[in-house]
Amino acid sequence: MSKYTEDDLREELKTKEYEYGFYTDIESDTFPIGLNEDIVKAISLKKEEPVWMTEWRLEAFRAWQEMEEPDWANVNYAKPDFQSIAYYSAPKSVDPNKTLDDVDPDLLAMYKKLGISVDEQKKMNNVAMDIVVDSVSVATTFKKTLSEKGIIFMSISEAIKEHPELVKKYLGTIVPQKDNYYAALNSAVFSDGSFCYIPKGVRCPMELSTYFRINQGGTGQFERTLLVADEGSYVSYLEGCTAPSRDENQLHAAVVELIAMDDAEIKYSTVQNWFPGNAEGKGGVYNFVTKRGLCEKNAKISWTQVETGSAVTWKYPSCILKGDNSVGEFYSIAVTNNYQQADTGTKMIHLGKNTKSTIISKGISAGKSQNSYRGLVQIGSRADNARNFSQCDSLLMGNACGAHTFPYIEAKNKTAQIEHEATTSKIGEDQIFYCNQRGIDTEKAIALIVNGFSKDVLNKLPMEFAVEAQKLLEISLEGSVG
């Protein structure tokens, strides 16, 4: 086939004179813009998915069409035009002529501050890598260790092909297709993501994704993650990267589902650093994420997140504490600067007896940004002796930013114990002067104060990640106090 343009494709889609098969002819790796059933089918086909998966996506799409974009969050932005987005593009390939010299120097300067290796930098900018024996062998060794323990860890596209029974059984059970507007959209068009299954009684011997970063490249804007920890197993999963991600896709809508069966434990840590827009508030990623986990008996799920990026963040990692004695935790640091807006928090749904949840949220606002904590603690009628402790602290820098706390509490059981503490403080000139007087300049003083403020959450991150995250906080707030 000589030349097949998007216009040709659009024409074909319009006239609908085709069968599934014609897509194999397409040479272009990006679909035409817009979203309809045919696009959804085409995505599924491109990924060589089984019929049940295609149907599942279509069901989601039909639901999505009937839904409305939510507007209750404390954020203001121009609603995306969903018909002006391309919903599939193949992973970017390595350009053999590109070197790091071609990469934005600002970006490189930030990598340097974060201490990101040259190889990693190349990977993130689609620059061809030299063959590094070390990292290859490390990856191979770990892959072997995982498979020996029966752990499945692969992209969700691969999993749909290789372990359809598992994916089919669990996908959408925690975040149903129709859960919310963005989740429905994700279900219809998700590009890729990770799948992980930890067998009964297995303790995953490493932080997953530290070495693989399989969810780094080419997963695109609609990421889907499904993580199943079978009875008595343990896994710690790291998502994201402290390195700034610049993506031309403005809209990101990911879905993460966690299942912790009886006596299992999942630790899920995220560092989100999508492009926040420039200092004038132009550009920047809209990040609308649905993350939810289910805890069976004696199970535990911990969400830890460090959110520094995105122009708009809408994200509430939640726990359904279904099993008796199950535990849910949410530790969050959300930083907003310039014109960023974040509306983030959690939902702790207590259904089982003796369930416990802890929420520690640290919001840091600078510039002209708005930072909201929104959290729901719900105690069901059968959840005897449920306990929750919530602490929401806000730190303000300057006079033009805002911090908001929206706690919702619904208790249907008299034995529930719910505690909520909230504080708001401002980095004072007195604190800065005190540090200055001891020889600490203002920039460093802010970093020190912010790190102190965030310590309770930073401590929950795996060691390596914590150090990176700490640096990231400093960089995110650079220049925010004059």
């Binding site: 540090c435 007087q437 001891r438 020889g439 790190n451 102190g452």
Partner: protein, 250 residues
């Protein structure tokens, strides 16, 4: 070491210091006394380089260098230390972490590498013993939930760690009971040498029983109206400040 000529300073356009002259040489201890509102704390803030205070006239020389254009941290790097009357809290930052940062930032400014951890620990051990500080205290958040005495002792601990050339102690005695006062004062005395100098800013003579000054200055209405030896402090203790005010206003 410190030479102040005809210093005028104001905050929010209100003149507070109205022509201060003061010279402090290495090895000396000066006490600056005066009634409330006379400008004592302003003087210490201006020397330390607090931005809200505007120097409208006069000069401050430190080691023969005019420091007017230097930021507060640059002055600190040169060896000026201010013990605060009201030390601020920094939640989540331990005393150890804070002082470590202060020392390493000062070293960085001098082109030195970070102090090795073992040296730092040794120094911390040494200085905390000197000031009878419980080591558990050092892992607490800076000044958070500290008693008045603990806050002041922490200030002197930091001074001991940073080893400044010039230490200005702003109302270090306020809020201290007698035992704490003795510990703080003996700490300051142990740190005194022929190469450094101390300026004590105080309302009462009490502290001067423990740290004996070479010179006493009385600050009133933004000016040093009387200077003398340590006996001047006793006179003030006996007679109060009214006779000074009368003398000035006469």
């Amino acid at each position: 070491m410190l030479k102040i000529n005809n210093l005028h300073a104001s905050v929010e356009d209100k003149a507070i210091l109205k022509g201060i002259n003061l010279e402090v040489k290495p090895g000396e201890v000066h006490a600056i006394m005066g009634p409330n509102g006379s400008g004592k704390s302003t003087l210490s803030s201006v020397i330390a380089g607090k931005e809200e205070y505007e120097v409208t006239d006069g000069e401050i020389f430190f080691d023969e260098e005019n420091i007017e254009e230097l930021s507060a941290e640059e002055r600190a790097h040169k060896g000026i230390f201010l013990s605060f009357q009201y030390p601020v809290e920094i939640p989540g930052v331990s005393v150890t972490n804070f002082i470590k940062t202060a020392i390493n930032e000062t070293r960085k400014a001098k082109g030195l590498p970070d102090m090795p951890a073992n040296e730092m620990l040794k120094l911390i051990r040494e200085k905390s013993e000197l000031l009878e500080i419980d080591r558990k205290f050092l892992s607490r958040s800076l000044n958070q939930g500290f008693s008045g005495g603990e806050k002041k002792r922490n200030e002197i601990f930091q001074m001991a760690m940073l080893e400044p050339k010039l230490a200005i102690l702003d109302e270090t005695d306020s809020g201290l009971d007698i035992d704490a006062l003795r510990i703080v004062a003996s700490g300051v005395n142990k740190l005194k040498s022929k190469d450094n100098a101390v300026v004590l800013i105080t309302h009462y003579q009490r502290l001067l029983d423990y740290i004996v000054p070479d010179f006493v200055h009385v600050l009133y209405n933004g000016r040093i109206v009387k200077s003398g030896g340590k006996e001047l402090a006793h006179e003030l203790e006996e007679k109060g400040y009214d006779w000074i005010k009368e003398e000035v206003n006469a």
